[in-house]
């Protein structure tokens, strides 16, 4: 058996989600090859080769792969799948964008966002925003899988796989990269952070959001998140959103500030190790999942907490 894992990266660094996907692929079984498709992504290929358990790294270099657009990735990966029993990708926006095209071409029903694997054909995945867990078996000859990063530990370093160059697929493709607007931040990436401080609608404005949440996050070395209500109200950018339709996080410490705890939000953070909730409404559902709940006015309590740490 053999598994192809698609690496998620930005051409300079390999995402943590890739090493987690390698762990999931290891539970499936067989040789694990990692595909690094990018432009000038040699460092990423070298980093992938160091992941323990990786058999071989396939490195593709080409303009069309700088942003890993789905159409170019499909043209590259579909012909490669003759030699593999499964395709695994992290359930990042890259993985979610790319893998269903390949599954359709292979005539395979994809398994999205898996959180568990039992043997080579049985998978566990959340449905209804994590309010139910479904276990399914797949009758397809090949499996196409995206992996929820919070459900698997990252495979450690320690490997020394060979890096092999592979030719890019011939274009042109019908989609073209125009521009990118990435949020600049010195803070850790939300889904990979060990600590997360999230703010909700109770903050009242983007100015207050920054004034209250950011100092605490800086003190903790934490990433900043937000509830959907806070994002919809414009207090925080959309990529801060934690929840069913946003990012799924499971840090060691999650601090929910002024977040009531809608099902939608809980689905995105309830696997965190320690949850702290600060909210002045003692009936807020967030307290039902919090390890430590503080019923208080966040505008007093959070600056005090920031000062006390």
């Amino acid at each position: 058996m053999a598994v192809l894992v698609i690496a998620d990266h930005d051409n300079s660094a390999l995402s943590d989600a890739t090493a987690k996907t390698v762990t999931a692929a290891g539970k499936f079984g067989g040789d694990i090859d990692v595909l690094v498709a990018g432009k000038g992504a040699g460092d990423v290929a070298a980093a992938a080769a160091k992941i323990s358990g990786v058999h071989k790294v396939l490195h593709v270099d080409g303009d069309a792969y700088e942003h890993q657009l789905a159409e170019a990735m499909e043209a590259l990966i579909v012909p490669m799948m003759g030699g593999y029993d499964a395709l695994f990708a992290p359930a990042t926006t890259m993985g979610k964008n790319v893998t269903p095209r390949i599954a359709a071409k292979l005539d395979v029903m994809q398994l999205s966002d898996i959180t568990g694997i039992e043997g080579a054909d049985t998978f566990e995945r959340p449905i209804y925003a994590g309010n139910a867990i479904m276990t399914v078996t797949s009758s397809d000859a090949k499996k196409v899988v995206t992996v929820r990063g919070t459900a698997f530990d990252a495979a450690p370093e320690g490997g020394s796989a060979a890096v092999e160059s592979v030719d890019p697929a011939a274009g042109p493709f019908k989609s073209e990269f125009v521009s990118e607007e990435m949020v600049e931040s010195d803070r850790p990436e939300l889904t990979a952070a060990k600590r997360v401080v999230s703010g909700g609608r109770a903050l009242g404005s983007s100015e207050e959001f920054d004034r209250i949440i950011n100092p605490l996050a800086d003190k903790l070395g934490a990433a900043v998140g937000a509830s959907r209500a806070a994002v919809d109200a414009g207090y925080a950018p959309n990529d801060y959103q934690v929840g069913q339709t946003g990012k799924i996080v499971a840090p060691e410490l999650y601090v929910a500030v002024g977040i009531s705890g809608a099902i939608q939000h809980l689905a995105g953070m309830k696997d965190s190790k320690i949850i702290v909730a600060i909210n002045k409404d003692e009936e807020a559902p967030i307290f039902q999942v919090a390890d430590y709940g503080l019923v208080a006015d966040l505008f007093d309590a959070v600056p005090e907490l920031t000062g006390a740490l």
Partner: protein, 248 residues
């Protein structure tokens, strides 16, 4: 330009789902059903394009039980022109849905298909991308802005860490994210008007697509319940607890 918008009937997003005691699935009996929220955003986007004069016709299609006709009516009341119901009582997986939609596209020849990025029941996030591959069309997934100019569709996408804009050539697939627009409520006159708009009734057999599922459900269970912890008196107690737990 002609636009096709597939819509799905799902459990209303405000309903707390309950797992059946025999673990065969989720209880759908006597539960409020609505249009998948991402599909509402798709319909809204198509209607806005029509209002802006870039779209001439909006066709809505649903694959599902007889009651999915209500979902189509909702879309017609929002401003879509006509509907197609492909009636089946079976669960249809995204791959099969994409195959049927590919046939509908062959018949209807739209210039763009706008789909929700995922349905909030199975959370698969696959159908749009699969349809794109089957048709050989480019895709702009997780859209927060869609603009057509000079024969190309520019889609701004919500990606990890920010936004990305892609240009798509020719007929295109767009899948919608939450912040693309805020769907309207249909007005009473429009609801009345929608009753007169045509809905074609079809069966999956009309499209000659094998819908048999590839996945077999072993069980559906409740997620592990997280126990509530304790309420703390004040900030200093909280800091003490966090230090003891090794969290700070």
């Amino acid at each position: 330009m002609k636009v096709l918008v597939p819509v799905k009937r799902v459990i209303d997003y405000n309903v707390k789902v309950r797992v059946k005691s025999d673990q065969s699935g989720v209880d759908l009996a006597n539960v409020k059903m609505s249009m998948n929220p991402f599909d509402e955003i798709s319909v809204e986007e198509a209607v806005r394009m029509k209002e802006a004069g870039t779209v001439t016709e909006i066709v809505v299609v649903s694959i599902g039980p007889q009651q999915a006709q209500e979902t189509i009516r909702t879309a017609l009341a929002m401003g879509a022109d006509r509907g197609i119901l492909i009636k089946t009582d079976d669960m249809v997986e995204p791959l099969a849905v994409a195959k049927v939609l590919a046939k509908v596209v062959e018949e209807e020849t739209p210039d763009m298909v706008i789909l929700g990025k995922q349905a909030i029941d199975d959370d698969a996030n696959q159908t749009g991308q699969m349809l794109g591959a089957l048709l050989g069309w480019p895709q702009g997934t997780f859209a927060s802005e869609v603009k057509s100019d000079g024969g190309k569709v520019h889609v701004t996408r919500e990606i990890d860490g920010g936004l990305q804009t892609v240009a798509l050539e020719g007929s295109a697939i767009v899948t919608t994210d939450l912040r693309l627009n805020e769907p309207r409520y249909a007005s009473l006159p429009n609801i009345m008007k929608a009753k007169k708009k045509p809905i074609d009734m079809k069966a999956p057999e009309d499209y000659g697509v094998d819908l048999s599922p590839r996945l077999t459900i072993v069980k559906v269970t409740e997620p592990p319940v997280r126990e509530a912890g304790e309420k703390v008196e004040d900030v200093s107690t909280l800091v003490g607890k966090l230090k003891t737990a090794g969290a700070v």
